[in-house]
Symmetry: C2
Subunit: 115 residues, 2 copies
């Protein structure tokens, strides 16, 4: 190994090792991002920006089958990206917190795309 900034990079590598988050934290972050990294699930999140909705209307908004949407909702909920409450026969879903919208908007500004 031999580069102009060898010393500098080595220090950065050492610091990186010391400050590396615990494996468990990394896996949680990874799981959270993974859950918002599928087009079908992103559509659900973009839909829920308009306000809470029950499954029937989410299906209406994003397309696909009820079963597929339901599976995706579960993944989003397990990862605390969305939350739900029962309202009679319906389950009403909404975004878990403001971080979700914030992170979507950051991604879009990073990519220069309108949302």
């Amino acid at each position: 190994m031999n580069c102009d900034h060898e010393q500098l990079h080595h220090l950065a590598a050492q610091a990186a090792k010391e400050n590396m988050p615990a494996e468990e934290a990394i896996e949680r972050v990874a799981a959270a991002f993974k859950s918002i990294s599928e087009p079908s699930r992103l559509k659900i999140l973009f839909a829920l920006r308009q306000g809470e909705m029950c499954v029937f209307h989410i299906v209406e908004a994003v397309g696909g089958t009820q079963s597929a949407v339901s599976h995706q909702l579960r993944i989003l909920k397990d990862n605390h990206i969305i939350k739900s409450r029962r309202d009679g026969q319906n389950i009403v879903y909404s975004l878990a917190d403001e971080h979700v919208v914030a992170v979507l908007e950051l991604a879009c500004s990073h990519l220069n795309c309108k949302i």
Copy 2:
């Protein structure tokens, strides 16, 4: 379909449909999140928070084989999460822009985890 907020949810569904980003934009956002949703790649990003580093030192910081790290770097670069420049025999990598750190920090505050 029949729920207390039927009218309200229906309006949200209509609005969601109208404001749904284009398929192409959704796929770009999805690809960007996908690229930061694997533990091995997240480690690289956390490492690069300490500053730019060449591949040798990234491997040192995150573990794994040179080949695996190199494949992961390519995915991150293709998705504009990191950038690179050549420095003699070395390729020096760094985070593409401040959005990357910001999105990582948002995720962590969402999950209440230290980074």
